[in-house]
């Protein structure tokens, strides 16, 4: 059972990771003068979009999402809208945090918000896919020893890695190297993306490595 789940997770993560590479490569054919630095916003939204689509598709196909109690259409719609609301709130939350970290308030607000969108895509969206719009479950997963399945653990790892990646990405900004990737918010978005990729890679490996120690309580 373990191996099956881990293998499934590894393949799902591989698909998500490849979608990021696709989103980096594909627009070059479509958009004129596309480059990760030059047209950074385009790249950012391509990546965010592709991750969204692939995530939703993969988790829907795998059926990881928690079982819904009611199967009516209106419940599904309200779930959908709540998810959207949560996503928006998380964007605003990340935006606020980034501003508190010292991003300019008015100047380049679009860039800051795009970073927030990317971070939300990398973290909140996966939460929504795996746990659904259920704050209690989120708190459970992100409190200590709260994971109850392999997917919860992978969620913890990828989320942590993305945030730490963005955090580390801010370090080179004060250096006076005048490199194109030091422009706000490129280093942070790149950091977050690389962190996310690392998380995707690390999660199955880590779980495989620790599969003896991991025992999940069931509800």
């Amino acid at each position: 059972m373990w191996d099956v789940e881990i293998r499934g997770m590894a393949s799902a993560h591989a698909i998500i990771a490849s979608s990021i590479f696709m989103a980096t490569v594909m627009p070059a054919a479509l958009v004129n003068k596309f480059s990760v630095y030059g047209t950074h916003m385009v790249w950012l939204y391509c990546v965010a979009g592709s991750i969204t689509v692939v995530n939703i598709a993969v988790f829907w196909l795998l059926g990881i999402s928690p079982p819904t109690k009611k199967n009516t259409l209106s419940y599904k719609i309200s779930r959908f809208f709540r998810s959207c609301l949560y996503f928006l709130l998380s964007c605003l939350f990340f935006h606020t945090v980034v501003v508190l970290y010292g991003a300019p308030l008015l100047e380049s607000a679009l860039e800051t918000f795009s970073l927030a969108v990317l971070l939300s895509t990398l973290t909140t969206l996966r939460c929504l896919c795996i746990l659904g719009p259920n704050v209690q479950a989120w708190i459970r997963v992100f409190s200590r020893d709260g994971a109850m399945s392999v997917w919860d653990t992978s969620l913890q790892i990828t989320t942590g890695c993305s945030v730490i990646g963005a955090w580390l990405g801010a370090f080179p900004i004060p250096l006076d190297w005048d490199r194109p990737w030091q422009v706000w918010p490129i280093s942070c978005t790149l950091g977050a993306t690389i962190g996310f990729l690392t998380g995707l890679l690390a999660a199955p490996v880590w779980i495989h490595w620790h599969r003896k120690q991991l025992t999940y309580k069931l509800k």
Partner: protein, 972 residues
């Protein structure tokens, strides 16, 4: 030897500050300066020897040799750009003149730091600027030393300058006409030079100037961009060659019969390394080209190998050529080739003037100048000169006279060479021996601190330093012997200056004894530590870190490592703001976890399935059930809101003062407030801040202190109003701005009163019989001392910085109330957080790692005139107000928590010492390694001074910690 943690920390810090002082002594050599503050005058020039009566030689000044001088200074003009095959290709005209024309060419050796500003100083003053000069002069960029430009200006010469604006800053109002070009944009290498050249044609046509200085930056910029072998170098050198050709042609066309010849000087300020940078001391960086072109010189017949001279030699040569006195601190000697066409009498006269100036400087700077060879030679040469003059005046024109003249000239030249090298030996060199000794000391202290960590942070907080046993061990005596031998060896063979060698033997021996004992004790402690760590591997695995601990450790390590980069030093505030924000978020997460988990009552099944490596949280396992009953709903929300409020405060304060280098020019809130139009806002803000300070501070004080504090803060406002920073709320009769001395002194009285009450309470708590009462009294006394410090800081802070103080107090209050007490952080964690907050507030105040941001005006608050001691103390206090206030708060907080945290004060002071030592030690080692770095004096040296000062402040704080801790241990 058993020491309590706080005493141990204090001793370590004192040793550290002494070693840092020794390091600074070695790092910043004392510059050679003559003691006279006045500048050289024509009347200082000695009379020509043995001229009999004065009437024969009434003019003391040497004759003018050149009518006009054009100095073309090409930044980074390496010697081989002119004198190698590259030069023939790219600078054909210059090469032609060098090989065939009437010119002299030299390789001028520049001294490190091979950076533009010190080099300009060297070229104009003839002295070798040390690093300390550069640091000391950061506030006043004006060159106050005696220099060629000043001499020329006071002699009535008209000077025109175009080029690097460093000159304009060094010599304001010296130039008749000037156009400074900023070298800020290194990537631009055409515009900077066009800015200079565009004036050239019109200036060369005119006749109303005597000296023209052109400083071209383009070559240096190309070097920085793409190195000395870049394809851009050739065209740039050709452009320079064209300019030289143009100037030379124009100078030749101006010359007519009967007038004095003109002089064209082409030189570089420093070279360029193989990577294109400069600042260090490699051959390519110090060898610069120097070409002197004038019809006064003999025509060359072929290419000669250019002679090697010192860069500083240009200053006396030009001074003598222009008939000016040589600037006082010049260590250069004249270039004899320039004067070889003169008559023997004139040549000897020039040499005598130069020698006299050097011997004066030698007498001033060297107490044992009699022993110097050069001085003796000069005396002999001067005597010989006298007898030569006698023959000359008698009208002897024989072979004997010319032979004797040649001999005297040789004597003079030898004397000049000896004196010049003796003088330049004294400066521009690091005293590496002192630096290394200081570094070993400071590293020993750090290792001692690190090794003592488990003991110092234990419950007893007692450190056992095996000093006595090490004093009796054999290695100790061997080390002593070895150390003394090494010292003798170094001191007898050292060529350069050495501070340690000039110390008395007794002192040096005690230092060696101490160092050896230290090493032995260190080894002893390490040996003791080793088996225990091997024996109990289970214990170390059980010692888990919470996320917060991990963050605190990573942050400290990150910050320390970031000091290796000059940009991170310039922007250190960013590092601290960043870490502080992360800390607040981590605390927020801790608070969330605590309150939401308690709600869900999942506390008891802790040991199941640890996913994250952190198994047990100190905060959670501590929390007693009693606490649960107390925590009301409102408290939870307050606790949740505290980190968020702190974050908001930090963000607002960050916008108040923009500091650093890269973003320092951006408009900030502080400028907006100070801009004059917004005085009403500033007044309201200052008043509100003062009110907030009063509300926050008065809680713990006695009634008398409360009233004193209120009056004192009122005094602060009226001081600011009197000085003119804020508006009077009441109608004010006299409109003129006073110095506010009365108001400031009024506040000082209250500060002293509050401090006195606090100290009185502290002393009374010693003699109280009941422990509870004495504890309460002691706590109150501490808070009163604290509020006295706050009042003083409020007086010293500028009006727009008062919100910083208010926010500081607000954050301290709420964090202490809702976070540190409630979440049961231990003393070490609290100390690290306090240290981080202190650092961040240091930068929130508007400080930076540049000496220029130190606000010297606070040294005058309440004083009629400048008095050195109080001015320095007040400046230090206001600069380090942030770290100091947080340290004071830590002291108050930990001593009020003695019932909860055992030995909190000991742990606190130990952590403080360790936190200060790690970056300081790392930095000292780093600076030693990077001593030839390009930014060593612009970035690294000021930071070194800041680090030293911060360590001193920390030592003082630790002293107070030890006092407070001591009377705990003496009490039963």
């Amino acid at each position: 030897m058993k020491l309590s943690s706080s005493v141990f920390a204090l001793l370590c810090l004192i040793l550290e500050i002494v070693s840092i002082a020794l390091f600074l002594r070695g790092f910043f050599p004392v510059p050679v300066k003559s003691s006279f503050s006045a500048k050289s005058k024509v009347t200082d020039i000695p009379a020509e020897p043995q001229t009999g009566n004065n009437a024969v030689n009434s003019s003391r000044a040497p004759a003018l040799l050149f009518k006009r001088v054009v100095i073309v200074l090409i930044d980074a003009l390496r010697e081989d750009f002119v004198f190698s095959s590259d030069g023939r290709r790219f600078m054909p005209y210059t090469r032609h003149v060098v090989e065939k024309g009437s010119s002299h060419s030299f390789i001028a050796k520049a001294r490190p730091p091979t950076v533009t500003m010190p080099r300009i100083k060297a070229l104009t003053t003839g002295s070798i600027p040390g690093f300390i000069d550069v640091v000391m002069n950061l506030n006043s960029p004006v060159l106050l030393e005696d220099n060629l430009i000043w001499q020329a200006k006071s002699a009535g010469k008209r000077i025109i300058f175009y080029g690097d604006d460093t000159w304009v800053r060094l010599f304001p109002k010296h130039f008749m006409e000037q156009d400074g070009t900023t070298s800020f944009f290194v990537s631009d290498y055409t515009e900077v030079d066009n800015n200079v050249t565009r004036h050239l044609d019109s200036t060369l046509k005119r006749d109303d100037w005597d000296i023209l200085i052109l400083h071209y930056l383009g070559l240096d910029h190309i070097g920085h961009i793409s190195g000395p072998h870049s394809s851009l170098i050739g065209p740039k050198l050709m452009e320079m060659d064209d300019i030289i050709k143009k100037i030379h042609a124009s100078l030749i066309s101006k010359e007519s019969e009967g007038t004095l010849p003109n002089l064209l000087v082409v030189c570089g300020d420093h070279g360029m390394s193989e990577t294109g940078s400069h600042g260090g001391s490699s051959e390519q960086e110090i060898n610069t080209a120097l070409v002197l072109i004038s019809p006064a010189f003999r025509r060359k017949v072929g290419l000669e190998r250019p002679a090697v001279v010192e860069q500083v030699d240009l200053a006396p040569t030009l001074a003598l050529g222009l008939g000016l006195p040589i600037s006082q601190n010049s260590v250069g000697r004249l270039i004899p080739a320039v004067f070889e066409e003169l008559s023997m009498r004139e040549q000897l006269r020039m040499l005598q003037i130069n020698g006299h100036q050097l011997s004066q400087l030698l007498q001033d700077s060297n107490p044992v100048f009699h022993k110097e060879d050069g001085y003796e030679q000069f005396r002999v040469a001067e005597k010989a000169h006298g007898s030569w003059m006698k023959l000359y005046v008698d009208g002897n024109k024989s072979e004997v006279l010319s032979n004797m003249g040649k001999k005297v000239r040789k004597q003079y030249l030898d004397a000049l060479k000896a004196m010049s090298s003796a003088l330049s030996k004294q400066m521009g060199k690091y005293d590496l021996y002192s630096m290394i000794i200081a570094m070993t000391f400071i590293l020993q202290v750090l290792f001692l601190l690190l090794l003592a960590m488990p003991e110092a942070l234990s419950r007893d907080a007692v450190v056992d330093v095996p000093l006595a046993s090490s004093l009796l061990s054999l290695p100790f005596y061997l080390l002593c012997l070895f150390g003394s031998a090494l010292h003798v060896l170094v001191c007898t063979s050292a060529g350069g200056p050495c501070y340690l060698c000039s110390l008395p033997w007794v002192l040096v021996f005690s230092v060696i004894l101490l160092s050896s004992a230290f090493t032995c004790a260190l080894v002893g402690m390490a040996a003791r530590r080793l088996p225990t760590s091997n024996k109990t591997p289970t214990k170390s695995s059980g010692w888990a870190l919470s996320e917060l601990d991990a963050l605190l450790l990573t942050g400290t390590v990150f910050h320390t490592l970031s000091l290796g980069s000059s940009s991170f030093i310039e922007e250190e505030h960013q590092t601290w703001y960043f870490l502080l924000n992360t800390l607040c978020l981590a605390v927020f997460q801790d608070v969330c976890r605590r309150y939401f988990r308690e709600q869900r009552q999942r506390g008891e099944e802790e040991d199941e399935g640890p996913l994250l490596p952190s198994a047990s949280d100190a905060g959670l396992s501590f929390s007693p059930a009693m606490e649960l009953g107390v925590s009301a709903g409102s408290e939870k929300w307050l606790a949740l809101g505290t980190p968020l409020l702190t974050l908001t405060c930090c963000r607002l304060l960050r916008a108040l003062n923009q500091t650093g280098v890269q973003w320092a020019h951006l408009p900030d809130f502080g400028h907006w407030l100070n801009s004059g139009d917004h005085k009403v806002f500033l007044s309201v803000l200052a008043a509100v801040s003062l009110l907030l300070i009063l509300v926050l501070v008065q809680r713990h004080c006695s009634l008398v202190s409360k009233i004193a504090l209120a009056l004192g803060l009122l005094g602060v406002y009226s001081y600011r109003a009197a000085v003119g920073n804020v508006l009077f709320p009441w109608p004010h009769s006299s409109r003129q701005v006073s110095k506010g001395t009365v108001e400031a002194r009024f506040v000082y009285v209250f500060v002293l009163g509050i401090l006195f009450t606090g100290v009185k309470d502290l002393l009374r708590s010693q003699v109280m019989s009941s422990a509870v009462d004495s504890g309460r009294l002691k706590s109150r006394g501490l808070w009163e001392v604290y509020s006295g410090v706050v009042l003083l800081v409020a007086l010293l802070f500028r009006a727009h910085n008062l919100p910083t103080l208010a926010c500081c107090l607000l954050v301290q209050t709420i964090m202490a109330q809702f976070i540190w007490k409630k979440l049961h952080y231990d003393a070490a964690q609290t100390t690290i957080m306090h240290y981080w907050f202190g650092q961040a507030f240091f930068y929130f105040q508007g400080n930076s790692n540049n000496i220029g941001t130190v606000d010297i005006s606070v040294g005058f608050v309440g004083l009629e005139s400048y008095v050195e001691a109080p001015a320095i103390i007040l400046t230090a206090l206001s600069t380090y107000a942030g770290p100091l206030l947080w340290a004071c708060h830590l002291l108050c907080y930990l001593s009020s928590q003695t019932d909860r945290v055992v030995n909190g004060l000991g742990h606190g002071s130990y952590c403080f010492a360790l936190l200060r030592s790690i970056p300081a030690v790392f930095y000292v080692v780093l600076v030693t390694a990077l001593r030839y770095h390009l930014f060593i004096w612009s970035v690294f040296s000021p930071k070194l001074l800041y680090e030293a000062m911060h360590t001193l402040i920390t030592t003082v704080v630790c002293l107070f910690f030890t006092f407070m801790d001591q009377d705990r241990s003496t009490r039963p």
